[in-house]
Point group: C2
Chain length 168, copies 2
């Protein structure tokens, strides 16, 4: 087994070679349409279908594309009330913080949890069938939880996904 050559001083090498133009294009395309067939992706990227398939598979294996998910209209699914609940902790023990994120994310109605810096420790994005359900959710699952000092609820009127995240 050949030994790795000694490394020159300077910035550490990237374990993964950086994404090239083609990879970025494929990711952008998959963000736009997660069901885009391999043939369409290959055409868009100007590469052979077999190559394209290998690229996309590599993107998944490298953890760059972590999954594909349907986007749904929560209101039409019977959850017309959305809220962002800002939650403040007292102790900030790592175990508490981790447990909170994990347990809350598994609760029915939770769209996502954001662990953030600042006065509040978490934003919990929730969807509910009615204001009453929302209130019950917050009182039963957030306010009452050990370590939680405060929970401030803001209604979400409208969510709009970014259309061009990657171009930075």
């Amino acid at each position: 087994m050949p030994k790795n050559p000694p490394r020159p001083p300077g910035p550490p090498p990237r374990p993964r070679p950086a994404l090239d133009e083609v990879d970025r294009l494929l990711v952008a395309e998959l963000l736009r349409d997660g069901r885009a067939p391999n043939t369409a992706l290959a055409r868009a990227a100007g590469i052979a279908e077999s190559t394209c398939l290998a690229r996309v598979r590599a993107l998944r294996e490298r953890g760059i594309v972590t999954g594909v998910s349907a986007e749904v209209d929560l209101a039409r699914l019977g959850l017309p009330v959305q809220a962002m609940v800002a939650v403040r902790f007292s102790g900030h023990l790592r175990a508490d913080v981790d447990a909170f994120a994990e347990e809350v994310s598994a609760l029915p109605g939770v769209v996502a949890t954001y662990n953030i810096s600042g006065a509040n420790d978490f934003l919990v994005h929730v969807a509910a069938p009615s204001p009453e359900h929302l209130r019950d959710f917050v009182l039963d699952n957030l306010t009452g939880r050990p370590g939680v000092v405060q929970a401030e609820t803001s209604l979400v009127f409208h969510v709009r996904r970014g259309t061009d995240v990657l171009s930075t």
Copy 2:
């Protein structure tokens, strides 16, 4: 052409028949895996493939499933810094609010915008290559915008998607 029978008094009819168990199961499955093949969906729902195909198509046509998108690891795409920026408006003219959401959502690096109630009017979820880029983004695109009074940035340490949104 037969006339519709007179309607009994009571709650108005739903223009769309409410989703049944099967529809909910299909949506849940598509949230889990947006690329699930029709055969798998049919098996999971215990219905014929032709029926399943029609159901899924109907879900799209009714605007319940609005699209399918890849989920990506922004850090591995070169955007390791995420933030939630709380933006406060002055005038609250509808035109300003709408324009803000639309324009900001199209900016590179913007993951999503949330129009909310409360002291702040918007949460802008941003991803950036570095803290400096983030700072520039906020100053150039948010703070400087007409109508914006304040922009308070919180770093996002970790995002976790809900695993069971629909069970409510």
